[in-house]
């Protein structure tokens, strides 16, 4: 008990030595759609540049905008167009991504028109019978309001109509896909690059959601994956963004399912 003061002293000393090692560190935050791709490229970049550390965080496109504004992140990731009040930030398109409307693999649906999709997600179409399938409920699932994927979906497809408040809400592409993969009556939307064998992507107005249709412009549900930042990028951040936009970086993104920035 007499030497009790030693313990806080030791603790303080230990904490002081846990400072940041002399590394270049940048934080990138924002869209959960873009995040896995940036993480993958960042890992490759870190292997080539051992003194660089790139922290990639999610939170959603709007959270990315807020983080860049607040200085919490050097670079933000956004998976939709910028809103008018966000235009003060600089943006660089790093890739393009389609949005796929997905259902359970066992669903009898294979094609929906834009009007039908609007009806389902605005809540006016509630039964599969109205879509030509067997009678049964249709459950639209959407992302949270700050999501870039949701923002792009609403801008590009909903034609001014709002998504019904009765829709189920999931907070990331991953949890959305997980939900659709297990519920035969649910319908949702995720990043085209994240569609895998666990869900079925629907044709929209007869157009298949495939890379070639995005590139030739016939599949119109396409949104940009952008890096956003204040003013000009410098140093490590600039070098990394340049790497993502380089032919090597673009090839990496395409291999994972994205489409080149052009």
């Amino acid at each position: 008990m007499k030497r009790l003061w030693i313990f806080p002293l030791v603790l303080a000393a230990a904490c002081a030595s846990c400072g940041d090692s002399p590394q270049d560190q940048i934080t990138i935050a924002g869209s959960t759609s873009f995040q896995p791709f940036v993480e993958m490229v960042a890992e490759a970049y870190e292997q080539g540049h051992p003194d660089v550390r790139i922290l990639v965080q999610g939170g959603g496109s709007t959270a990315g905008v807020l983080a860049v504004r607040a200085g919490a992140a050097t670079v933000g990731m956004v998976s939709r167009g910028l809103q008018p009040d966000e235009k003060d930030l600089s943006a660089m398109v790093a890739a393009r991504d389609g949005i796929a409307v997905i259902v359970h693999p066992s669903s009898p649906l294979s094609n929906l028109t834009t009007d039908q999709i609007r009806g389902i997600f605005s809540g006016t179409v509630t039964d599969f019978g109205e879509l030509g399938g067997p009678k049964g409920p249709v459950r639209p699932v959407t992302r949270e309001e700050g999501s870039g994927t949701r923002g792009a979906f609403v801008d590009l497809l909903m034609g001014g109509r709002a998504i019904t408040p009765a829709a189920l809400v999931q907070d990331s592409n991953g949890s959305m896909r997980e939900l659709i993969a297990h519920d035969p009556e649910a319908i949702g939307y995720i990043s085209l690059g994240l569609v895998d064998g666990s869900v079925k992507a629907l044709n929209i107005d007869g157009i298949r959601p495939a890379r070639e249709n995005v590139e030739n412009g016939s599949y119109r549900l396409v949104r940009p994956f952008m890096f956003i930042f204040n003013g000009q990028l410098e140093g490590t951040a600039r070098l990394f963004v340049d790497f993502v936009l380089s032919p090597q970086g673009q090839r990496m993104l395409e291999q994972e399912g994205l489409i080149a920035a052009k």
Partner: protein
């Protein structure tokens, strides 16, 4: 002699300082959320904020009634599950089970309280939700799923505190009752439970407080639609899930509205805790 007195005085002052820092932490949090959230309650009007079901923050509509109903319904559902199971377990363990196994079982139930809420949510999402969707109906993500998961989460709280309340009843009460010719169950039901009533009420209300404040598990299994639930299979959003879903990207008035939701939650849980402590203090 004088040095020991000063020693005592100094230690008591230091401990008082620690206690003060805990209370001031609570006060600072309360002041912060009121400061952040009051503006939107004033501009929407307390009535408009609390009694409107229209929550469309991007269009500046901030009504949290749907979420208040969601929180209340899910909490009551959790109680419907945890109360009979919890009270029954507590009575069985405190009155009818032999001492050794009873203490071991009590310790095991208390382990349940240590499981992180996200694990409960994960199990609920993967196991419970598909079962509800297939065998009962609806999307599976529902009031029912949230109630079951919450019920299991608050079970150890209710069992633990109820057992303590029952064990605190003096043995003389039981002996007197048996001496008068009552059976063991009659003794338990009419004498012991009545004597432990205030402690059991406190246990239940503290469990309710935990259920109201639970966020992660409910977020994963409740569906999060902004609508007043119409049946146990309806998707629902609670006050806590609302804050968790939207705080990451909320700005301006939207953020203030989320802090105002925090004020409402704070008040609800304070009220529940005050009721619990006054109930516990009253003698049966």
């Amino acid at each position: 002699m004088a040095k020991a007195d000063i020693h005592d005085w100094a230690i008591s002052k230091v401990l008082f300082l620690f206690a003060l820092s805990a209370i001031s932490g609570l006060a600072l949090i309360a002041i912060f959320i009121v400061h952040e959230g009051l503006a939107v309650i004033v501009s929407e009007g307390a009535k408009g904020f609390v009694f409107s079901t229209r929550w469309q923050p991007l269009e500046k509509h901030f009504g949290i009634l749907a979420m208040i109903v969601g929180s209340v319904v899910v909490t009551l559902g959790a109680l419907a599950i945890a109360l009979p199971l919890g009270l029954g377990s507590a009575i069985a363990l405190a009155e009818f089970c032999p001492k050794g196994p009873a203490m071991a079982l009590k310790a095991t139930i208390e382990l349940l309280a240590g499981i992180p809420s996200v694990v409960y949510g994960g199990i609920g999402f993967v196991v419970l939700v598909p079962l509800i969707r297939v065998y009962i109906g609806g999307p599976g993500l529902s009031v029912l799923a949230a109630s079951v998961v919450l019920g299991v989460m608050i079970l150890p709280n209710i069992v633990s505190i109820s057992i303590d309340a029952i064990l605190a009843v003096p043995q003389t009460y039981r002996e007197g009752s048996i001496a008068l010719g009552a059976t063991r169950w009659q003794t338990t039901y009419r004498v012991v439970l009545r004597a432990a009533r205030s402690g059991i009420v406190a246990a239940v209300i503290l469990g309710m407080g935990r259920a109201v404040g639970e966020t992660m598990a409910v977020l994963m299994v409740a569906g999060n639609s902004v609508q007043v639930p119409t049946s146990v299979t309806s998707s629902v959003r609670t006050l806590t899930s609302n804050i968790a879903l939207e705080m990451g990207y909320a700005a301006g008035q939207h953020r203030q509205a989320l802090f105002a939701t925090g004020i409402v939650l704070f008040i609800m849980i304070m009220v529940l805790n005050i009721i619990a402590t006054t109930a516990a203090r009253r003698r049966a």
